[in-house]
Amino acid sequence: MTNWNVILFIARTHLLTKLKSTITASLGVTFGIGAYITLVSFMTGLNQMLDDLVLNQTPHIHLYNEIKPSVSQPISRYREFEDALNVVYSIKPKESQEKIHNALPVLHYLNEDERVLGATPQLNARIFYLSGSIELGGNLAGVDVLEEARLYNLDDYVVEGSTQALKNTENGILLGAGLAKKMSLKPGDRVQISTVQGAITPLKIVGIYQSGIAEIDNSRSIANLKTVQRILGEAENYITDINLKLVDIADAVPMAAQLEKQFSVEATDIIEANAQFETGSNIRNIITYAVSITLLIVAGFGIYNILSMLIYEKMNDIAILKATGFSGRDVHYIFMSQALIIGFLGGLLGLFIGFVLSHVIDRIPFETQALPTITTFPVNYNIGYYFIGIIFAFISTFIAGYLPAKKAEKIDPVRIIRGN
């Protein structure tokens, strides 16, 4: 039979009469939770941005034909030399075509698959950019512009001009930002490109493309698939790469293996391609939690101290409460509720301060070549972290309050009353 009204009334009175200690203890929690929210919002914002950076641009599965030598040379199949030591000098790559066999039916088939968000064709051509007498090596990607914009946020990386302009201009090209700078070109200008075979085609620059990775921006440009096919003098089914974006990224690994067998092409999945990426995210998360938990432990010691002091001061009160009919459990609840009230108020204020600080961080300008769409530091306002924060506050104050409250529960009133 616990009368919570009375217990909370006593707890509240204790807290209000010791306002300074209460505020000190609460501020400890506030700093812990505030730092947690700020750190976790910023860190996960950063993680998400970096994830997006890779995920947005990178297909989940990439299908292509690789130029490589045959795995087994003809001589090893010849029975008579089975036991002999065969040495073949200067093996050459197998003579095969770069294009994906039956690319259009394959593309159609993949777009029907319900696991696939979209499959896009791509034609990568090695070309030279001509600038006067200078030839710059590079490559030109022929793509389905609208699909690229839908699936891989191509728009975000077009810093001048637009993808729509490319769609509408048959001889258009989105020039790599590094190339544009080297050749002093701007949208509206014309650039001449030459294929490996030597055919020269003039293209109109409709925009500048900046991926953020200098090496790519110095060599790669984007044009319509048909344009590139025409430049190369190839048919409409000449496609060198197929990029897949999946509904669920977890399907990438099994599906890549399956497609590799099914269409006898090379299939690289995103997890294979970006194995190091997860590690970075995990380490940042560990740092965030380590710092926050350290702060909360410090706050917990503060609460432990203040409650212990309070109980020491309130020995007589505890004795009298027990003498007038409050049980040990009641006394325990009185001090536990004080700890939890401190945790709740401090935690709530901490959430607020964390929110304000992350808002401030959100406003700090952060401009980088690598991320043309980002203008301020990225912050993740996930409500889940606020729940975790307040639960943290409760757990740490519960642990900090438990021992002092247990001590108060055990106080023998007779000893205190007689001691005087």
Binding site: T13, K322, N420
Partner: protein, 228 residues
């Protein structure tokens, strides 16, 4: 058994030992009882065990042998939770040092045991508490902080608090020991009136010969025994 009904508090063969710092037999075969409406006092030299006995009778000290009855019901061996409910409802306490809760007002101090009991609404309890204060002539202090009133007043507030749940017995451990003669007399008169007007049983440990002689019965203790 009409005779037995009259026993409010009864102890049978109560023995108690202190183990620390040395083995010490502090209460030896205590057999006695308090009748309904009786005003009894316990006297004895320092260290004779009278306070120890009071704390055993109060149910706060459970480390004894023998049997203790309150309202003819065996109290010995009951769990702590139950004992605190018994203390809350049946027993009122007054101590030598007033032991009010300093952060609370006088009224809140008086109300606390009744709020713990939780039988009545807040308004009823407040009304009762003001009534108790009024009968002790300290109703004007109700809204003052307990730390702001004088020693004699504190003791009267403590008595009001002890009475708030209408206990069957009021126990006091030298309730006048720390008061000047005027306030001591005042407290004695209050006890007297409670006995006569409300039929309350009182058991008061005292050093004050004058005080004891005016009670119904003096229980004298020596070396842990009650003298016949």
């Amino acid at each position: 058994m009409p005779g037995a009904m009259e026993h409010v508090l009864e102890s049978k063969n109560i023995n108690k030992y202190f183990r620390k710092p040395v083995n010490f037999h502090v209460l030896k075969d205590i057999n006695f009882s308090v009748l309904r409406g009786e005003f009894a006092s316990i006297m004895g030299k320092s260290g004779c065990g009278k306070s120890t006995l009071l704390y055993v009778l109060s149910t706060m000290d459970t480390g004894y042998e023998g049997e203790l009855y309150l309202n003819n019901q065996l109290i010995t061996g009951r769990p702590h939770e139950e004992l605190s409910i018994i203390r809350n409802q049946e027993i009122g306490f007054v101590f030598q040092f007033h032991y009010l809760l300093n952060e609370f007002t006088v009224l809140e101090n008086v109300m606390l045991p009744a709020r713990k009991l939780g039988r009545k609404s807040y308004d009823e309890i407040e009304h009762d508490a003001r009534e108790k204060l009024k009968t002790l002539n300290i109703d004007q202090l109700a809204d003052k902080r307990a730390s702001r009133i004088s020693g004699g007043e504190k003791q009267r507030v403590a008595i009001a608090r002890a009475l708030i749940n209408n206990p069957v017995i009021l126990m006091g451990d030298e309730p006048t020991g720390n008061l000047d003669s005027y306030n001591a007399e005042n407290v004695f008169q209050i006890f007297r009136r409670l006995k006569e007007e409300e039929g309350l049983s009182l058991l008061i440990v005292t050093h004050d010969q004058d005080f004891a002689e005016r009670t119904d019965r003096i229980i004298v203790m020596e070396d842990g025994r009650i003298l016949p």
